[in-house]
Symmetry: none
Subunit: 200 residues, 4 copies
Amino acid sequence: MPAIQERAQARYQQILDAALSVFTRRGYREALVDDIAAEAETSKGGVYFHFPGKQAIFLALLDRSAGLLMDRVREAVAAEVDPVAKADAALLAVLRLFSSHRSLARLFLVEAMGAGPELHARLAALHAEFSAFIRRNLDDAVQQGAIAPIDTELASLVWFGALNQLVTRWVIADDPRPLEARYPALRTLLLRTVGLEVTP
Amino acid sequence: MPAIQERAQARYQQILDAALSVFTRRGYREALVDDIAAEAETSKGGVYFHFPGKQAIFLALLDRSAGLLMDRVREAVAAEVDPVAKADAALLAVLRLFSSHRSLARLFLVEAMGAGPELHARLAALHAEFSAFIRRNLDDAVQQGAIAPIDTELASLVWFGALNQLVTRWVIADDPRPLEARYPALRTLLLRTVGLEVTP
Amino acid sequence: MPAIQERAQARYQQILDAALSVFTRRGYREALVDDIAAEAETSKGGVYFHFPGKQAIFLALLDRSAGLLMDRVREAVAAEVDPVAKADAALLAVLRLFSSHRSLARLFLVEAMGAGPELHARLAALHAEFSAFIRRNLDDAVQQGAIAPIDTELASLVWFGALNQLVTRWVIADDPRPLEARYPALRTLLLRTVGLEVTP
Amino acid sequence: MPAIQERAQARYQQILDAALSVFTRRGYREALVDDIAAEAETSKGGVYFHFPGKQAIFLALLDRSAGLLMDRVREAVAAEVDPVAKADAALLAVLRLFSSHRSLARLFLVEAMGAGPELHARLAALHAEFSAFIRRNLDDAVQQGAIAPIDTELASLVWFGALNQLVTRWVIADDPRPLEARYPALRTLLLRTVGLEVTP
DNA sequence: GATGAATGAGCATTCATTCAT
DNA sequence: AATGAATGAATGCTCATTCAT
């Protein structure tokens, strides 16, 4: 019965959609499983059929979102050849996705912290994955002589931290401007950290 | 009766000390008011005599810690004349304090997120305050011609984000190395964002 | 699934039964939700599934009891034609019900006062409803010329007050005599207030 | 040191005044000893120096007020010779006092019920005392042949209940009209219960 | 006499999770 | 798959009362 499995899949996604909305609106702590069930138009028992618990919902949501994010990043990166341009494209892809999905940004940067220590590990892994991605490209750039040898681990940390901060402030301040509007200027500053000078 | 008021003051600080310990050990949610009372060697009612509620304790703790942090920063900054050196000193002061008080860092950067949306506002204000401080110094540097005109708001955001990220990773990864050890390298990268080249 | 809803209905009534018992035995303040749950053979959470809070239980109980009371009154009144006889029957019906359900009387007249100001309003409404009922009948009697024109609002207040006092004293003094035994004499006095002379 | 004792007396009365205000405003349950202390411009400890507990405050207040009430009644009654006129004067005196001290009325008729079973006994005694006073006068009137022999215990209960109800409704409905305005009409109805016909 | 800090038993309420149907 | 009733451990908060100073 693929029809049934399809329905189950649909319900699973429905619940994640509802969870994104509820977690974003009320925060992890204040989000009730009842709220998620109601918004997913199912029952509490229904939610527990698909997920073992509240934290698991958050985790699944984080993973689904991270997958989406990395897909976008990989796509953007594939269009570039130059390592620095790749890293550059990755950052822009992140900004673009978050810009059009503010709730996703809130989920990643704000609510994830309130979901308990268990989540920190997973979140740290995601951060590390993205950081490592940037670092790899910077390493390539060094190797190719495009940039001078530097501590790429630290540089990727700076890039990631700056990106993080930009998005976080945009989320918390509820800034109505499109997030990527500030990217050219940010790009100029970040490239300088690796010794490249460009004009915005 | 200053003796009585002194005792009350002492108890107030005792409770905050206990709260710092408990919040950083168990996280905001898992921290019980009972735990705080026990560690402060008083009763639950005693805690509630001094504070209106759990969140207020966290808030007071955050404020006390922020005051301590800013004192250190101001002190370090006062020893410098050059605006860039001032901003530089501020960052180093932060790293030094957090390096010797990891629990404080955890409080500011991790637990604060789990303490509910009301805390986010206060935290954002603290971040903004520190960011603005850096920005002011960069503005001065521009004015004095020490650095070329740039978007100082963005630059301060980058500096703050990088600092934030460095400390956060150090906290979450439980990195045993002293935090300030990485500062010279970070400093080099950050100064490049404003067009200054120094060797670590 | 009417079976489920039936079970829920039954549990709801079970809780109200338990609440009547506990409230009359311990008073509103001293009554614990735990006691009610235990006596209803359910859990505290079960009680809170059916009611939003302790006061709501009391309110629902008051309403259910008032409904029962008014049903008895209406039934007794329907058997009479003469307006004065109707009012008369109403009072007797009240006495009879309370006489056989002392706990109900205690609930209405004593405990209701301890359940907070919100309850006073509801209670006042119930009193007003019953008073108005008596008054309507006295008005009819005046219209039909059965009794001389009088201030029926005041008369109904006197009747109600006397009835109230009789029951209250019976409840508080824990008088073992059946309550309605005193009704013939009371009836004689009350009818005199509207100018009718009967022998007990 | 009579000066000291005077000061203590004054403080004692101050606390009772504050208690009247607080109990009336918030009800017995919601009234905090802290509130009473604050309104009496003393400290919680100060209150406990003068009274053994919250309930004792209420009791003392009830007694002080009852004394005041009975003084007024006795005074009014002393001016009359005829037993029925005496009872009549007693009722009017009650109405007059309550009319000018609504908070006292609320204390006696509404809040007293919420102060727990221990208070019911004392309150019942006060009620009984006043009822008995009316009854004694009615008995005298029977003895003197002024009224026909009747169940004076029941009649006094009716009188008391009617009075009670009139005041209670006035208190709860927050009726702005002077309470005693309705007395002539009430008097007419009550006198009818003992076979006397007067015009308001 | 008075203060205010401290106590601690008490309790309503919440909510993630379970499970009979 | 889904429902919704039920569970019960967990916990923040209240407040009358005590007591050292």
